[in-house]
């Protein structure tokens, strides 16, 4: 059917490190789009369907999608060594870059230009995250909870965590529990139907 070129396997843990390191360094403002190009199109480690499947799994699991994806790909090839290599590839070099920038910021934080630039970048960072929320709004239309319940739960989360600054654990366990129970009731096939 879709007779693309056959899939390959990573040759070694070192190759896992190299590939994930390269894609991490290419990813400004999010690594996922680059990950698709590298893992599916260039290296052919995953078919497009496998990529989507891993992404869905990553969304259910806590933790960053891309890290979970790297861990699972590495683990499938070379067990825990592979998982470690892929994850280290993703994080090591970018971490040194980020910490160098943070250190530089520490030295120049008193400079009005630097402080202003960082305040501007902070405002953009806030905007980027709010934009993600706006895009996510569209997916709520197909949520089995229905829009009113989504609004109530999302709004309550914003008030409790964002405005009242309550600890996140209790809010997520409490409201999350309510959300999951409601979703469960609506998704469950009606009793007696079959």
């Amino acid at each position: 059917m879709n007779a693309g070129p056959p899939l390959r396997q990573p040759a070694s843990s070192a190759e896992l490190f190299r590939v994930f390191n390269r894609l991490a360094l290419q990813g400004f403002g999010g690594v996922l789009p680059v990950a698709h190009r590298a893992l599916v199109e260039r290296e052919r480690w995953l078919s497009p369907a496998q990529f989507v499947e891993l992404l869905t799994l990553g969304q259910v699991l806590p933790g960053p999608n891309i890290i979970n994806m790297a861990l699972i790909i590495g683990d499938r090839s070379f067990g825990w060594r592979g998982a470690l290599a892929a994850c280290a590839g993703l994080l090591t070099v970018p971490m040194f870059i980020v910490l160098a920038l943070a250190t530089a910021y520490g030295y120049y934080a008193g400079n009005a230009l630097v402080a202003g630039a960082l305040r501007g970048m902070g405002a953009v960072a806030a905007g980027l995250i709010l934009a993600t929320a706006v895009k996510l709004l569209r997916t709520l239309k197909t949520n089995p909870l229905g829009l009113p319940w989504c609004g109530v739960l999302g709004g309550a989360t914003l008030v409790m965590v964002g405005f009242l600054r309550w600890p996140m654990v209790w809010v997520v366990l409490g409201l999350g529990g309510v959300g999951m129970a409601l979703a469960w009731r609506r998704l469950r096939p009606p009793a007696g139907a079959a």
């Binding site: 799994l57 971490m95 980020v98 910490l99 960072a125 806030a126 905007g127 964002g162 996140m168 654990v169």
Partner: protein, 190 residues
């Protein structure tokens, strides 16, 4: 000599004790399992704890940390490393990164090895669907918390709004918006 000084600076805890570092690690381990919509959804709680409760950093430092991580290449989760670095140097980075990555990574590997795919089971669908509105609320909270240092400044408000509009309407890389924010900020928010 200089090597020792450099080592000393790297290992300096910036006034915190090892007990504090352990606490940092424990708090980020807890957040690791709550990060169902990605690590950034736990930012409001990090800010509440690091800035409000412990007083280890300021609002401005917190928001700058997130901004620096977004301006640099690599996974966005590295903002967590910046938090650790600012709070307690290298030991802080180890505490926050191992904390936020540890539990979720072990869970991911366990599910990948033993759980296998059942992404269409009703229980899993109820789990994701039930948490989706919370993810949205947490992202909105994160946006709100990050505006703390510039709240009330019209220029910053415009930047926030402009970013949202451009990101929703166009496919421009966020990198350019961060750059524009730096330039406009240096000119108008210093």
């Amino acid at each position: 000599m200089t090597t020792f000084t450099a080592m000393g600076e790297l290992l300096a805890l910036r006034g915190l004790g090892w007990g504090d570092v352990l606490q940092l690690w424990a708090h980020f381990m807890l957040l690791s399992l709550l990060a169902v919509g990605g690590a950034i959804t736990t930012a409001p709680d990090m800010q509440r704890w690091l800035v409000g409760e412990q007083g280890w950093m300021s609002d401005a430092q917190f928001t700058a940390g997130v901004a620096i991580a977004q301006a640099a290449p690599g996974p966005n989760i590295l903002f967590v490393a910046v938090m650790g670095w600012q709070v307690a140097g290298a030991a802080g980075v180890a505490a926050t990164m191992l904390g936020i990555m540890g539990p979720s990574s072990l869970l991911a590997l366990a599910v990948a090895r033993f759980g296998q795919r059942r992404a269409d089971s009703i229980a899993l669908r109820a789990f994701t669907a039930g948490l989706m509105p919370l993810t949205l609320g947490l992202l909105l909270s994160t946006g709100w918390v990050l505006t703390a240092p510039t709240r009330g400044e019209w220029m910053a408000g415009l930047l926030v709004l402009g970013t949202v509009v451009v990101m929703v309407r166009t496919r421009i890389s966020p990198m350019w918006l961060v750059a524009a924010g730096a330039v406009l900020g240096a000119l108008a928010l210093g």
